[in-house]
């Protein structure tokens, strides 16, 4: 039973995620390589880490979405397995259509590396089981393309189905994320047959211990690991 951290050639937060799992939670982490056709044996949850999967040329995550490992991740997700996409991982999940919508360039055209205050909009269940609904947490963002967008119908559906996972607390006059323009302030969403696929722009692995300015991120990673270990929900 372990969390598979997928390494695309340009992933650069894969080691950080593995470290947070091991040091922060004492949970095992296994590495999955982008060219693999199967997840490692014993995988109970999956992380698509941040970075620049294939250089982020063309569109962030576009090429990664087509890599062999993503077919395996898709099968795992379709069977209800918990999958967490962080930053570039979120972009990959959208490009692979495992989550709806897309991430555009930030509205000011700039890369932002800073702390973001978030509201957990869908706490209490699944991977977000360790959060209270409406709980506020702080996680850092580091992205140039985190401007979440989808058509109005999709956004309405996300909201009505309770699939907005995280929102930026700071919004502009239109209600969009002040930092990057994300529609309706969306920082992360849920998908998959059982809300088992989560994508978010902020980096939980960077807040996984007191020496890293806080441990809010561990709460999410703990939820991910636990969601994969629920009896009766063991994946293929």
């Amino acid at each position: 039973m372990s969390t598979a951290v997928v390494t695309f050639p340009g992933s650069n937060c894969d080691r950080d995620c593995a470290l947070a799992l091991r040091e922060g939670l004492g949970a095992p982490a296994a590495r999955a390589w982008h060219k693999d056709h199967e997840l490692p044996p014993g995988t109970t949850s999956v992380i698509l880490p941040g970075g620049f999967s294939y250089g982020d040329y063309l569109r962030c995550g576009a090429m990664a979405a087509l890599s062999p490992i993503m077919a395996a991740v898709k099968r795992f997700a379709d069977a209800g397995g918990p999958v967490l996409g962080i930053c570039n991982g979120f972009q990959i999940l959208c490009e692979a259509r495992l989550l709806p919508g897309a991430l555009l360039r930030n509205h000011d055209g700039l890369f932002h590396c800073e702390d973001a205050e978030l509201e957990v909009s869908a706490g209490g269940a699944g991977m977000l089981m360790c959060f209270d609904r409406r709980q506020r947490i702080t996680l850092p963002i580091a992205h140039g393309e985190g401007n979440y967008t989808a058509d109005a119908a999709t956004l309405d559906r996300l909201e009505s189905e309770g699939r907005v996972a995280f929102r930026y607390v700071a919004r502009d006059a239109q209600g969009n994320g002040a930092v990057n323009g994300a529609q309706r302030g969306i920082a992360g969403i849920l998908g998959g047959p059982a809300g088992n696929v989560v994508g978010l722009m902020p980096h939980p692995e960077r807040r996984s211990g007191a020496h890293l300015h806080g441990a809010d991120g561990l709460v999410l990673l703990r939820g991910l690991v636990a969601a994969g270990q629920r009896p009766g929900e063991v994946r293929p």
Binding site: L58, L66, L104, T149
Partner: protein, 79 residues
Amino acid sequence: MRARVIVRLKPAVLDPQGEAVERALRGLGFSGVKNVRVGKLVELEVAGDAGLVKAELAAMADKLLANPVIEDYQVEVAG
């Protein structure tokens, strides 16, 4: 055969890059500028006859070059 695929953000999608360029152009004194949109131009060589090539280019765009959630594309084959 030389071909190109033009990829544009859909009209309904906000184009932050286009807005930034517009602002910068105005700042430089080009005051008559409006509705700036920035797209991508993928130029490539493909083997095969024109008809087939067009279909192949469309397939490339569908699979990789454009994201239908936010983008439209257009293929052109030279001569």
